[in-house]
Amino acid sequence: MGRYVRFMSLWEYANPVKFIRTTDVVLPWVSVLAVLCLVVGLIWGFFFTPEDYRQGSTVKIIYLHVPAALMAINAWMMMLVASLIWIIRRHHVSALAARAAAPVGAVMTLIALATGALWGQPMWGTWWAWDPRLTSFLILFLFYLGYMALWSAIEDDDTAADLTSILCLVGSVFAVLSRYAVNFWNQGLHQGASLSLDKEENVADVFYFPLLVCIAGFVLLFIALVFLRTQTEIRARRTRALIAREQQG
């Protein structure tokens, strides 16, 4: 690896020190962009879009609800990929990133559930319905809780990374099974997808563009938080390693 190598392999960033150095540069930009997107998207969405003829002003909660719901699932996907990378290539950053993403994903799930309840109250006349989508998110939230609890229960870092990775894999399979099981169990009241390539059931354009900006904002926010939390995890681990070395020397 000389200075002549322009494009480094992606795996280079799996080195903790390298990761911290790179994210230190990227993090401020991502954070600023995230805030910008969220401010623009939410103000646009809340104040400069018409009210829905059927749903009134409550429709505007989609600017929080839909991005949070998307990120709740994507965060788990990211953890699944990171867990696989840890199992196969044993890059520490990967395991720590999965750990860092879990609380963020859990909060996203909570936001999706809470905004869903706020939306559901005027729309369906109830705060909570055992609708398949809501139920699936509740189950997803339980998976997040279990995953985080396992991480914090195990003292040895590498053992915790190994065990939580396997839990994440197995959990993913069961999360998908639960999704189908819940669908089977109750057909539900939830409207169809808010966003899809199929234009027929899509939301109208006026809602669509600010929604996209909000989603971009949530994605960037997620990236920023995961970077920040991964840095914290790396530094905590580094501190422990340094203390261990001191004690040994």
Binding site: I139, A149, V170, F174, A181, F184, W185
Partner: protein, 218 residues
Amino acid sequence: MMALLARDLKLAVRAGGGFGLGLAFFLIVTVLVPFGVGPETALLTRIAPGVLWIGALLACLLSLDRILALDWEDGTLDLLATAPLPMEGIVSVKALAHWITTGLPLVLAAPVLGVLLNLAPGGYLWVLVSLAVGTPALSVIGTFGAALTIGLKRGGLLLSLLVLPLYVPTLIFGAEVARRGAEGLEVATPLLLLGGISFGAMALLPFASAAVLRINLR
């Protein structure tokens, strides 16, 4: 393998608790439900299949930490790991022993407890069938949870937190079979799905449990 199974069964018989505790718990849950929801027979008839499934599931959960913990504490697992048995086989046998000592008694007791809940006449057979098909999945999934939490001091609570979300699909399809059966509806679809989950879990989860156990033993 057979020796391990025979030993586990012998231990369960001699130690007593094994069979009795889960059954007693199942009985208590079933008895408590009418106290909670009222004695109205029509209501009990309607919820009986679901209550029996939840009771069986909780009774099963109660004994999960014993699947591996005892063998872990006295060093048996270390020694088994150095024996000429594949770890996947060991966890499968452990799950099977758990099913025979806990799951099977629950399956057989469920119709009897159904009487207490005024289960619809058509429901007895399907409660029995759905539990017989579904409880092996509960044992296998539970063994995975037990393997994950084996080295932890207060693993019991964590074990429940980890295992209960994994039980959701089994519970949904199992209770659905029992409910449809009790209402005289067609049960083939949920029964097939339940069987799929059960066989899938039996075939694949031992690999995950074995991997987890190897990590915990090192």
